[in-house]
Every structure is written in C-alpha cells, then in structure tokens.
Symmetry: C2
Subunit: 323 residues, 2 copies
C-alpha cells in the first residue's frame, strides 16, 4: 500500500467543503489506490459544524481514509501537507466594495501563504478556490517565499466545464466531443471563454456556431452561470465547484489527456504581465502545469485577454501592500 | 462502450440527493466504465431547485453522464429504470405522530411502487432510503405486483458503517480491520448492531471490548448517531447517507467481498416473520442479495432481534390497508 498523502482543505465545513471531502476520501482526487489523511481547517465559530462533518466522514468507513485532523490552527492544518485546497474565503457582505473584499481576503491569504511556507511539504501543491481566486492565489504564493510560484494555482476548471457544456448543448453533442476550448484570465465576469481553437469532434467550433452567438450568448452565459444557478437553487454552486477542484488536483497530480484551463503564474506568455495569476490553456504532466503556448489568437481574442488582464492588474494594485 | 443504465433518484433536489448525484455521475456507483442516464424526480414545488442541480450536473462535464431527465411525473422518472433510489420522503413535521408519518409516506410509496411496476425495467433494483425506510420498502414492493420482492431493499449500510467506525475507534484500528459485524432489523432506534460474530483483525470483537460497553455505549451510540450529527452540524447527515446509498447499490450490483447489512424481505430466516423488510447480514453476488444464515446468536441477540421485529410488525399493522 502507498504511503498516505496529506490533503488540507480550508473552509472545510462550508458547502463546497462538504461536497468535496467525501469524494476526496473515496479516492476520486488521487486515485483508488492512494490512502489519504484529511487535515481540515475552519474558523473557531465553525468548529462545531466541522465536528459533525468529521463524524460523517468516520461514518463512511472509507478504506482509503487513514486519519482526519480538524483544527482552527493553520500551522496544524498545513503541517506536512502534500495538497492544499484553499476553499475558505470571506464572502462579500452587504455594503462591501470590491476593494473591501480584496482587503479582507488579503489578510486571510497572507497568513495562509506564510503558514503553508513554514509547515507544508516542500513539494506541496496549492489550489485556490476561494474568491477572488486569482488574486488570493497571488497573495498566497507571494507570502510563501521558500516555495516556487508554480506550486500554486487558481481554479477556472469550473468555468472551463461550463463553457464545454454550453458548446456541447448548442451543437447537440456529448461533452466528450468538445476539445481545445480554453478559459482565459480572471475567474470573474471578465473571464474569456475562447472558442477560436475549440473543436467539436474534428470540426472547428466557430464553423458550427455563429459569431454573434459566441459573443452575445455564449460568453455572457459562461460568465454569469454562477448567478443563474443561485437564482434556481437558492444557493451557490457548491457541488460543481467541488467537482472542479477535485478534477483540477487530479489532473495536476496524475496528468491531463487534453487541454484544460487553470490559473497559473504568468511568465509573459501571450504578452500577459509577468507575475500575475492568469488562467491559460494548459496541460499537466509529471505534476507540472504547462501553458499551451501554441495558440493563434485573433484581434477579438487579444482584446478579451487584455480586458481580463486589466482587471487582474487593478486587483493587484489594490492589495500591493500585501505582496 | 457499454450501454447507458438508467438511474432514478427521487427527492433529487434534497440534501441527500445533492450529495449523491455528482458521485453517481462520476462513476462511483456503477463503475468508471459504465455510462449512466439520471432520471430525477421532485415534487412540483422543488422543480426550480432541481433545475439548478441539473445545471450543476451539466457544468461538471462528466464523461459518463449521457443524459439528465428532471420531472415531477413518476411515470417519466421511472421509465425504463435499471436502478431506483427512493430518497424523497415526507419528514416528520411538528405535532406529527409516528402513525401520521407512516400514513403520509404510505401514500407516496404506494404510488411509487405502482409506477415502478408499470414503467421501470423488469430487472430494476430499488433501494429505499427515505424513512421509515423498511416499511416504505414493504409498501413499495407490495404495490409492484409484477416484480419480485428480492428486487427491493432498504438501506442500513449507513448504520453498518457507523457501527464499524465506532468499534474501530474503540479498539484503535483502521475500519478495514473490522469484519462480520451486522446491523439487524429496523432502521430506527430499535436497530441492533451485533458484535457477537464481529472480528477485529482475526480476534472476536467481544474479546476486545467488554459487554457493558457493547450494550450501554456502542448500541445506543449507533442507534442515536443521526441525532448526534444533527446536533453538531445543525443539519442531518446527508453526505454519509448518500455515500451509503451509493455503496449499497454498488455492492448489490457489482458484488461484496465481505459481509455487510441490508434490509431485505424476510423468508423466515432466523425466525423473523416472513414478508417484512428486515436488515440482515448479507453478501451480494451476481446482482442478488443473499442473507448470511450461518450466524450463531445468543439470548441477548435473539431478544434484540425480536424487539426490532416487533416494531416492524407494528409499523406493518399501521399501514396494512396499503398492502
């Protein structure tokens, strides 16, 4: 039997955590031959709820689950962690401006970056799910000075999957037939789900849908999908977000067979400002995220890439005292 | 690629449904090579929420998920179903007596039994999760006149897992080391988690724990675990119940490697009244549930078996006009 790997989840008693932990413990993230230890972090006020979640994890008698640690101390939660999923974040409260939100989360992710730096495995991989995810990821990696920026990523696979589903629905195919789509930039309403390189089967997507649908229906539908689900369900999209986080970690760890989308630190690819965390088309191999640098972009794409980059630069400016 | 199998889930927008559907769609129930179609039933008032769940399922771009049907019409939900998970049930409301609860659910499961009989696959397997699960299962199978009683089962694997976890915790072993435990009778506070045959590693459990702990701590802890989780989480144990339902169907369909516990119609095994749905120690092979009839029981066990049987007979009497 393999040695257990340690997986830290923050905000573990929240809705996304609840939708995620049982799937991680059953082997969906790292494979059904990989024992895991779960290290769950919550704020002190949520420790009671977290106790209930831990009881339920016990009550599943998962063969792969070796141990569950629940704590409100970051140094304990991140201790020796091989994988970290930063799910917990401060949601936007009434009357809170975007800047206030960035600031409130900045404080959380500054502390978590330092704690990961000091306590996690030197080979840790960190996924930021909590919003604003790209900038929270930037703060985290900047505060983990002994680790490499490549060890940090932010989640856009949910947006990627949403885009795949929209295109599959429009063209009447199974999601499996959609390839080479990508979501660029910030996980926000400026994100750019790009179809120029996308294929449906072996046919370029833009030969199957018209440009107006792409620009005026598809892109806004993907950008606003989260709000649409809240309207229907009455609560936010926890299970699909949890699913995306599990998929992100699985692909990062075990490798991709096709292009997907992940937020990763820019080294100037596609002229995106170096050092910001930006979603690119990527593949993963041997535990590394590789940006697909082979894409041809037209003027429409470039304009959209710039727009979402601009928002990320503004976010960076707003929290630059934390970097 | 295999032909898709049709899986019906009732109460699909509820908490257990929400914790279950994404795992079914990812292949955790029937295997990662088995495409599935989900047929989701809800009451009309919950169709909006169910729409949100369907959107989220789409947004996972699951390779195995071929189609999702959402409906409030039982005949559509059960159409051609290979597996049915009856999760939706009327919860006990303020001032409701046990008899009222049985009656309210009786009406639901009478209708669903008839609809399954008329519309599902002739080889359908039906798991009842919604409480009171054993008696709801009895009503369902009695109203599905063209199907065999063996095609219906009620869920006690959650209780089984809870018992395994308690014994593993007490004896300081991993849950994997616990074998041959069984939960008998009704899924209620009379259920009997039995340790007489249970082993920890190769040692009989009752050589490792004393009888007072077994009778006065272990049995009540398993019986009241649901309430304990509600106290901690502030809501009921949805994810562990969903996990148990998935496990029940997987074992039923793909086979067991060790003894587990399931509610199944009694043919007089262990002198339990013929025809009631009672939880026994079971194994599964080739899609069939086989009651383990080899157990030796002592007077303590027999007394407990009778007690929970008595409750099931009272429940049957309360709804006998529906059979």
């Amino acid at each position: 039997m393999k040695e257990p790997l340690r997986i830290t989840v923050t905000g573990a008693a929240g809705q996304i955590g609840y939708a995620m932990l049982f799937r991680i413990a059953s082997g969906e993230m790292l494979g059904v031959d990989q024992p895991v230890t779960l290290q769950l972090l919550e704020i002190p006020q949520a420790m009671n709820a977290l106790d209930g979640v831990v009881m339920e994890l016990q009550d599943c008698a998962f063969p792969l689950l070796q141990r569950v640690v629940s704590t409100s101390r970051p140094e304990e939660a991140f201790s020796g962690a091989d994988f970290v999923l930063l799910v917990g974040a401060r949601p936007r409260g009434p009357g809170m401006e975007r800047k206030d939100l960035l600031e409130a989360n900045g404080a959380i992710f500054t502390g978590q970056g330092k704690a990961i730096n000091d306590h996690a495995s030197k080979n840790v991989r960190v996924l930021v799910v909590g919003n604003p995810a790209n900038t929270n990821c930037l703060i985290t990696l900047q505060n983990a000075r002994d680790l490499q920026p490549e060890q940090f990523s932010s989640m856009t696979i949910l947006d990627h999957n949403r885009a795949v589903a929209q295109l599959a629905g429009k063209t009447g195919v199974h999601v499996d037939a959609v390839h080479d789509l990508a979501v660029w930039g910030n996980h926000s309403s400026t994100m750019f789900p790009e179809l120029l390189s996308a294929k449906v089967g072996s046919t370029p997507a833009l030969e199957l849908v018209d440009f107006e649908w792409y620009r005026d229906k598809f892109i806004p539908a993907v950008q606003q999908r989260g709000a649409e689900i809240i309207r229907a369900r009455g609560s936010s999209s926890a299970a699909s977000a949890a699913n995306a986080a599990i998929q992100h970690m699985r692909l990062w760890s075990l490798g991709t067979t096709t292009v997907t989308s992940m937020g990763t630190v820019s080294c100037g690819e596609y002229d995106i400002t170096e050092g910001i965390v930006y979603s690119f088309p990527v593949t993963c191999r041997a535990g590394k995220i590789d940006i697909d640098t082979s894409r041809k972009l037209d003027d429409f794409c470039v304009e959209r890439l710039r727009l979402t980059e601009k928002e990320l630069l503004e976010e960076r400016d707003a929290i630059k005292h934390l970097l």
